[in-house]
């Protein structure tokens, strides 16, 4: 059936987009402005939010895991995979739950996602290094996630409203 091919294609395109975004973001490192390990804008999160809003949690998860694995293949190592996967999964879970709640906009969801992503990264760093030392970076990272989350949240709103709905039922 063409629906499954459509879905597959859509996931592949979104994965490629997420990958491209995270590579592009690596070209303009925020850490030049703020020397804080792990600090980044989190543009790839846009794709996760879009997938959560317009597709399903399952597809969002698929895209996220593929993006992390491919990203590690492209130019990372096992450690960066652990960081991005832990952060990404925690962010995905948090945003999935928050999206079901009333009273929030994508700004809030995105800020929570960024905060969860940073928390996940720090937890992974603590596990990998076997020390709690990375924890000192979490408070400033959380504060930064307010800004990066708001920026990506604004971008998400544009994305979700401007990009047309997938034409699911016509297939």
């Amino acid at each position: 059936m063409s629906g499954s091919i459509r879905r597959l294609t859509r996931c592949a395109v979104l994965t490629a987009l997420a990958l491209a975004l995270s590579v592009a973001e690596g070209l303009v490192p925020l850490t030049i402005l703020f020397p804080l390990p792990g600090l980044r804008l989190g543009l790839a999160n846009l794709v996760t939010v879009y997938a959560l809003c317009r597709l399903s949690g399952r597809e969002a998860l698929l895209i996220l895991v593929s993006r992390c694995l491919l990203g590690a293949l492209l130019g990372g190592n096992l450690m960066s995979l652990a960081f991005s996967l832990t952060g990404g999964l925690l962010a995905l879970g948090t945003m999935f739950l928050l999206l079901h709640m009333r009273g929030l906009s994508l700004f809030g969801v995105s800020v929570a996602g960024a905060a969860a992503h940073n928390t996940g990264q720090i937890l992974a760093a603590m596990a990998v290094l076997g020390t709690r030392a990375p924890l000192v970076y979490l408070p400033p990272l959380l504060l930064c996630s307010l800004i990066t989350g708001t920026v990506t949240g604004g971008a998400c709103i544009l994305l979700v409203h401007r990009v047309p709905q997938p034409l699911e039922r016509k297939s």
């Binding site: 925690l90 879970g93 948090t94 739950l97 928050l98 709640m101 009273g103 929030l104 929570a112 905060a115 969860a116 928390t119 996940g120 720090i122 937890l123 603590m126 709690r132 924890l135 979490l138």
Partner: protein, 344 residues
């Protein structure tokens, strides 16, 4: 509030992770001055106080015996009787210690000599009046340095210095000997997990209370606030000798306290520090001094001839050589050091 549960969950996870208990909540510790240095004894078993006191008592006893600046010590007596032909009755453990020091001199000719005391006095390292001796004084005192002219009886029960003016200084073995005996005392008192810091000479007993290896950092000889790296181990002694420990400057030249028994001048072998790791505290202490004088190549050759110690050598060329038997996490790269592993 319910809505933010996921976020709270994430944050409380991270908070609980930092509440892990720290090592050192139980056990006993004491810091004290002995053997011209500061010592810390930590016993991390429950009710470790008795073991700490046993270790301290042992160290105090050995200082009484080994310090040549105490007039009533056996070593001071041995030195006063130098050259008068009389053999001084000594404890067998001291006889064995003197004989051990001689064996190191024999193994590493020209690198180690406990009869260096007259030269140390000429430099003023003993009385903290450090100065460059005039050449005549140096030559006179250097003539008195000869470990072969120290006679120890077969049964280790008596010793004699053959020439008047000769003197023994056990500075290069005293801390190692003390570590050996203090560790024995701690074990006898039931201690299983302990860390002894005898003026930078580190001895670890067993593992940490949580079962992990002890982690001992090695000082950067060029900046003692920094570390060259960290060794993970258990039941070992780490002894480090370096010119940065005691030194003085005169006319723009730095003179340190590890004297070459051949020249009478501070050893200049191209090494900034030598760390010896061994399960024998006495061996670690003596070899760190001897191999500092010997230099990198001779030290590695000697290491290849034995299997009871490992080395970390820091050279003035910025190369840190670590022998293959150690678990060493190198940290010196950002301070301009490079690390190489020596193989057998």
């Amino acid at each position: 509030m319910k809505r933010l549960f996921p976020l709270f969950l994430a944050l409380s996870l991270s908070l609980s992770a930092c509440g892990a208990p720290t090592v050192g909540d139980v056990g006993a510790s004491e810091q004290f001055f002995a053997m011209d240095t500061i010592m810390t004894v930590n016993v991390l078993d429950e009710n470790g106080e008795a073991a700490v006191q046993a270790a301290r008592a042992e160290i105090d006893r050995l200082e009484q015996m080994l310090s040549r600046t105490r007039e009533d010590s056996v070593i001071a007596l041995l030195n006063t009787h130098a050259g008068d032909g009389s053999a001084l009755a000594v404890e067998p453990e001291l006889g064995a210690l003197l004989r051990f020091a001689q064996s190191v001199s024999q193994d590493l000719p020209g690198c180690f000599d406990i009869t260096i005391a007259p030269v140390m006095d000429a430099w003023g390292f003993t009385r903290e009046e450090r100065h460059v001796p005039d050449p005549d004084t140096l030559a006179d005192t250097l003539a008195l340095v000869d470990w072969r002219a120290l006679t120890v009886a077969e049964d280790d029960a008596s010793a004699r210095l053959e020439e008047p003016g000769m003197a023994v200084d056990l500075g290069a073995v005293a801390k190692g000997f003390a570590a050996q005996r203090a560790a024995d005392a701690i074990r006898a008192a039931g201690g299983t997990s302990a860390l002894l810091d005898l003026g930078g000479n580190i001895t670890v007993l067993g593992s940490k209370p949580d079962g992990a290896d002890w982690r001992v950092a090695v000082k950067d000889p060029q900046d003692t606030e920094r570390q060259l790296g960290v060794v993970s181990l258990r039941d070992k002694t780490l002894s480090t000798s370096g010119g940065y420990e005691r030194y003085f400057e005169a006319n723009g030249i730095t003179y340190h306290h590890i004297l070459d028994p051949e020249t009478g001048y501070p050893a200049d072998s191209g090494l900034l520090s030598v760390t010896v790791v061994s399960s024998d505290p006495l061996l670690a202490d003596a070899l760190s001094t001897a191999l500092f004088v010997a230099g990198r190549q001779a030290a590695l050759d000697y290491w290849r001839s034995r299997d009871d110690f490992e080395l970390i050598l820091c050279g003035s060329d910025g190369v840190v050589t670590v022998t293959e038997g150690l678990t060493f996490a190198f940290r010196g790269e950002e301070h301009g050091y490079t690390c190489e592993t020596a193989r057998r």
